[in-house]
Amino acid sequence: MIYICTIIFAIIFIIFILNLVRKNKLDEKYSILWLFFSVIIIGVSIYPGILEQISKLFDVYYPPALLLLFAIIILGAYIVHIILIITNQNKMIIKLTQEIALLKEEIMRKDNIKDEK
């Protein structure tokens, strides 16, 4: 039963992500990762044996625990990735703000010179 639920959920998730891309709300490059994971989840749900095999390889007795571990690692890495993007954007915004302020000053100075003439 849980496998069927997971598959349905993964398919809904894929549709949701594709729809965001279609509406131009999500960049293609950020959608790839999520689509990739959804496909993996569907794969594991259809063939639960895969997960059990890998679990044996890692000496994990409870296969879903392995799945959760992978999920946590990947989500953690993704958060770091997002923080990197935010940091970079922050720097760009500061730079743009500074340039705007300096341009405003330049325009004001030129206007003043004109006024004096």
Binding site: T97, I100, A101, E105, N112
Partner: protein, 232 residues
Amino acid sequence: MKTIIIIPAYNEQETIKKVVNNIYEQYNDVDVAVINDGSTDNTLNEAKCNKKVIIIDLPCNLGIGGAMQTGYLYAYRNNYEIAIQVDADGQHDISYIKQMRNIIEHGQSNMVIGSRFIENTGYKQTFARMLGIKINSMIIKVLTKRRIYDITSGFRAVDRDIIKCFAKDYPYDYPEPATNMQMIIKGKNIKEIPVKMYNRTAGVSSISPLKSVKYMLKVTLSLFLMKIKKDV
């Protein structure tokens, strides 16, 4: 030498005019730039009190680091040889500018810091903040073998060399301790001179006593990180 006084101002409508006029009364051969850091009060109009003032008006609040760097960018692009940063709240006694400028002009130092702690000048601090400054001063000493007493002083004069460094890279958080350390690592010559500072007359300090412990811990961390940071 072509000198600019940089005054970053965030909601300092009560004091900014006085600070600017004070400078023009005492010095006639310096330019004054007020960086309005997205103030929500009347700071911008108060700063326009004198026609000579260079007004750099940031469209939104960047915080002290981003505002200060705008001043250094201006100084760098307009070929200033000395830049002096002064607080807009009137804490700094601007009569020391002459001495700071002299030291830079004679090439005795790349940076001059106006320090409250070299001599007892009667400046009152909360205990937590005082302790924090002492601890971080010690950390800089351990990491770089150089002693700076007033690491958070916002009263500093720098030469063209450092203007260039700051225009390129200036920390957005805790800029004073971080840049002091940065410049020591770069091998710049830093001199501290005792200055008198006034306790605030209006407005609120950007660091409230409660937050000062948290602030100092963050400064400590940033100093250690500075040590491992790659030169950009």
